[in-house]
Structures are given as C-alpha cells and as structure tokens.
C-alpha cells in the first residue's frame, strides 16, 4: 500500500542509492587520478610542498560532504529533541555515520598536507581543521554510543543533547581559535590575487565535488532506508518475542 503511493522511481530507493554510490565512487577515483596526473603544477615559489597540494582534490570534497553530514546530524538532533520523531532519529543515525566517514576523510587528509606544507600535522590556530575535528569526534561519540547503548528514549535524548552540544562548540571554537591565532598566527598560505584557480584545477575540483556529493547522497539514501527497515524488523521481532512469551 505504502509503495503504491510512491512513484516508480521511488519504489527502489536502494537501487537508486547503489547507483548513486557507484557513480560517485567512480567519479571520486577519476577526480583523484586526474588530480595527480593531469592537474598542472602550482607556482613553487608560493608553496613549500607544491606537489602536496593535489590532496585538495580529495580533501575539499570531503570537507564539503562532511559539512552536509554534520548539517543532517544537527537537524536530526534538533528534530528528535523537539518532536521525538522516528524520521528525526534516522537523520541522527545517518548524519552521525556519514559525519564520521567523511569527517575522518577531512581530518586525515588535512594533516598529511599540513605535514608537507606547514611542517606540522596540526595547527591549533586553524579554525576549519579544528571545527571539523571536534564535530568528527562528536560523530564518533554518537556512533559508538548508538552501538553500545540500549535503544530507548533516554539514550536518544542524551545523544540528541550531545549532537546539539557539538554544534554549540562550533562558535566557541571559532572564537577560541580566532583569539588564539592573534598570538600565534596560523601558517599563512601566500595566494596571488590575480591568478585565481587554474581552469583545469577548477574542473577537476568541481568533478570531485559533484562525485563526492553523489557518494554522499547514495550513502544517505541507503542509510536512511536501512535504518527504516531495521526499525520495522525490530517491531516484528518484538511481536515474535510477545508471541513466544504467550505460548
């Protein structure tokens, strides 16, 4: 009955999700390969490790999709907190899983580049790196808590609180890193005002963005579908439990 209400394209969300993941994965691989072999070199006078810049073809799309995942996590947490709806909880599940996955991509690729370019893997005065790290840690906490705790309202309330707390840390981190940077200026990357991005670099970067977005959408659809089915399965199992108890 429920499926009949959906259009033909929505009847098989899992197939669409897998198609999106396949498309995204291929695109990400192609973008990475093009980034390594086709993208032009940058001006060596402006960079300490000019070759290392190529990691941006993964790092920046990772940052974009993890931002999307953290947004999903935030709205899921807020939704559960205010309305305790199952759809909001699925957003928390999906947002935390994907936030961890893509956030991990950001905070591992970032230090690799940082080590080559800055000479240090981490800069406590860099707002973006630190914010992503904090939110990835919050996502990791939520994923671990979801897996280890009993799935009840109390657990969900606490996890939603942690989700909201994580986002309250963002402005605090912004102020803290900005103030800290005043005394310890971060490593400034010299960029020429008139050069802009090379068209090839821009095209490969755009391709990486689009591919990673496809990957994100595919994972999000798949995750949402799986968690919805998992909830249905749990309901059926509960009925079986009751039937067993009665018999």
């Amino acid at each position: 009955m429920h499926d009949d209400l959906l259009g033909p394209s929505m009847r098989h969300p899992r197939s669409m999700a897998i198609a999106s993941i396949a498309l995204g994965s291929i695109g990400v691989i192609i973008s990475a390969v093009l980034g390594v072999f086709l993208a032009p070199d940058v001006n060596p006078s402006q960079w300490r490790a000019p070759e290392a810049y190529r990691i941006i073809f993964l790092h920046v799309p990772f940052a974009w999709t993890s931002f999307l995942a953290f947004t999903v996590l935030f709205f899921g947490s807020l939704g559960w907190y205010l309305r305790r709806s199952e759809s909001s909880w699925r957003l928390v599940q999906t947002g935390s899983d994907l936030g961890l996955l893509f956030g991990f991509g950001v905070i591992t690729s970032g230090p690799i580049w940082g080590m080559a370019e800055w000479g240090v893997p981490w800069d406590w005065a860099d707002l973006r790196l630190n914010t992503f790290a904090l939110l990835t840690a919050v996502a990791l906490f939520i994923v671990m808590a979801r897996r280890s705790q009993f799935d009840d309202d109390t657990t969900r309330d606490t996890i939603a609180s942690v989700g909201l707390f994580g986002f309250m840390l963002v402005p605090i981190t912004a102020v803290a890193t900005t103030l800290y940077q005043k005394r310890h200026p971060g490593i400034v990357i010299v960029e020429s005002e008139n050069s802009g991005l090379d068209p090839v670099i821009r095209t490969i970067l755009l391709s990486g963005f689009i591919s990673m977005t496809f990957l994100f959408i595919g994972f999000a659809m798949l995750s949402n579908d799986l968690y919805a089915k998992e909830a249905d399965l749990e309901k059926e199992l509960k009925k079986l439990d009751l039937a067993e108890e009665v018999s």
Partner: protein
Amino acid sequence: MHVARALIRMVGGTVRRGSKTVLRELDLRIHESEVVCIVGDNGSGKSTLLETLAGLHPLREGEIMGPTLDGNQIVVADSEGRRTPLQGLSIALQSDGACLDETVIGRLKMASLVAGTEINDEDLKQIMAEWSIHHRSGDRLATLSNGLRRRVSVLSALIPALKSENHGIVMLDEPSEGMDETSQQLLRSAIQNLRSLGNSVVIATHDQSLVNVADRVIRIQDQTISVTGEPPESDFGGSLFRRHNNDAVSEFCRWGVSLEWKNPIDTIHRLVPSIIAILLIGSVGADFIASDGLFSASFYLLLPAFISAMVRPALIDRLNEGRSGDWWRAHMGRSMRPAASIVGSSWLLPLPLTYFAFIIISIGTLDADPNAKFWIWLPALAIIDISVAATGIHLLVSGLRRRGAVAASLMMAVMVWPFLMLVDATSLILQDGMSAKLGFDTPLGLIITSSIISVCIWASSVLIPSD
C-alpha cells in the same frame, strides 16, 4: 468533610522504555490523605509509573501536574521535558537511591533536610530504635545487609513526612522487599499514620499486605490501568503543604564533599596521573625544559594540573551507585547537573600540582622573572574552570545506561584552547612578571578569556537538559 483534593494529576501520560510503550495515555489522580498501591506483573510498568510521577522518566505524551504551596497546580513534567521538582516529595527507590559510603544517620538526616523537614537527634534515635537500626547508626551503608539497607532507604522517605507538621507526597517502590515481619508491620503502621497526617502515599508493590491498607489499587496490565476503590474524604484542604528545602543544592554539595572526605577516590584518581606527569617532567630534565624557552616551561608547568582536571569525576560513579543520582534528581530537578558539575570538579589539586611542577622545573636554569612564583597561582586557579567544564561534559553523557561503554573524552579536545591560553598567560608571567593591565597580550586578559571560554563550554554542557 469533602472529597480530598488531587495532589498529582497525570493527563494522557504515555511513557516508553526502549522500543516498548510501557504506559499509554494514562489519566490518574493521587489525592491527599490517600494510600494508592500500584500492582501488576513483573515488567508491567509499576516502577515506571511511580518514577514517572516523580519526574524521573520523560513523557512521550501528556503531562503531570503537581501542587504548589498555595494549593494551586502547576505542570511538573510534560512531553517537552521536566519542568520543576515535585514539591513535598520524599521517595524510596527500589534500588535504595543511596551511595554506599553514606552512614545510616547521615543518610536519614540528609534525606529529611532535602525533603524539607529538620529532625532533631532525639527523634531520630527514637525512630532508629523502633526500626532496630540504632546499633548501626554510625556505620556505612556498605557494611549493612540488604534488609537493613532497605529499612534505611524506606525510612529516609518516611521520616520527612512523619515528622513534618505539613503534609506531602511519599513514594515507595517495593518497600517491604527484603524486610522481616516486624519491619513490615512497622511499615504498614507508618503508612496508615502518614495517611492520617494528610499525606499522599504511592506504593509500587507485589506485597498483598500493603495492598490491604490501600484506599485505591491501580492495576497495570498491557499498558493500561484499572483502578479499584474510591478517593477518600478529607478535611486537609486548607492545611499547609510541605515544601522542599530550598537549600537542596547546598545539601547536595555537602553530600558530595562528605563522601569524598570519607573515601577520597576522586582525589586519588586525579592525583596519580598528575604525579606521574610531574615525575616524567623531572625525568626529561629541568635544564632541557628550561632551554626550550618559557612557553615550553609554562606548558610543562600547567600540564599536571590540566591532566587532573580532565579525569572523569568519581561523583559520577557515586551518583550511579544505587541510583542515588536519580534520588537527587527527583528532589532537585534540572538544577542537579549544574550543581554536580561544580561539586564533582577538581578544586584542590590544580594549585599544589602547579607549584610542585614549578619546583621541579625551577631546579634547572629557568630564566624566569623572580616574582613569577608569587603569581602562577592565578593560571592554576583558572584550571579549576577547565575542570568544571570538563565535568559538565562527563555529566552530559552520564545519562547513558551503559556508562562504561561511552567515551566522553572524545569531546574534551575543545579544552585545548583555554589551556593554551593559560600556557600563554603563564609564559608572560614567567617572562615579565604579573601585570594588572587588561588586554589580549597581558596575563590577566588571557586568564579571563580562558575562563570565559571554559564557562561557555560548561554552560553548553549543563544547560541542554537531557530530557
């Protein structure tokens, strides 16, 4: 005589535990001068209903109204969360609700004070003698048998109501469990006494002898309730309602400090890694640290105190023991988490640890301002703010049932910035001594900024209610 007024009203209450709806759209009234027993099979939701009325479980739907001191009713909990503690409540949870380091007499006195009744020693001794626990009055609960502990737990709910001139609400979860026949007889007598004093008594029980003294019986089956009996008649309508002790927060603070005094496990948990850090600093060599500059020396100077501030407070384990945290939550409501984050923090250690580290580092050729040693207490004190914020984060996740399986430390990275600012402040103090000037390039300005950031983190962690 008239029909007694309702002290607690649940309207359309729906409560879930896990994926199971335990109570569905319940309407219920508990009247003054009434004994109500909640009965049902194991797992039917007796304790859940009692604890929900006490504000310990979130409502999925509906609301609970409680009395105000002037006889009106206010919402104490609804589906949007807990609003306010139930006035005039004293409660005995099934799992006692006490930490086992408490003494018998300490527990009874403190529980009475929290519920709004001050009891003198003579009366307390008399009650303890009646209940045959006077010979154990100075003993810790950990040394008592389960039956004796149960007596103490039930008494801590009965005494505030029995010894108060004003009436209130008493909630007892399986009070007769583990009691001998004499104690059970005393319990039944006390319950009848409470009713005659105008109190509402709500009991979740399997014990038929307690059901026999009830005015009404609520039977829970398949998420719904059936009620037998009629509300009593009463002439207590104009009498005063017992109010909670407004100083419940200070009682809680006293409780936390006294437990640490009896068993200083929190201090040891914090001290051991910090001392190890200081010894390691000593092993690295004071000359080596001094040669690396004042920033590096300041970092090592504050590191042991910072480590002590990050440790998971022992208070969390104390609040988990026997669900004593839930007992406090029933009486304090939402003010409990902010209070616990302050009580459970490291207050004493940052100062001595910082000076200890300073002595170790000063053994080398540290080129510091001669007056620096008179001022490094200031950044050391600011570490207390970091500790309070860290405790707030630990408490934020302490509501999860499998506490051993969560990693609050994942959110501690945010503490790095206030710490680094204190390191900066300390390096300025070591370099030029203390200055009263304000600004981001002055020690005072950096210390204040660090404290403000810590307070913001603390406020974020304790002001988002978990229900």
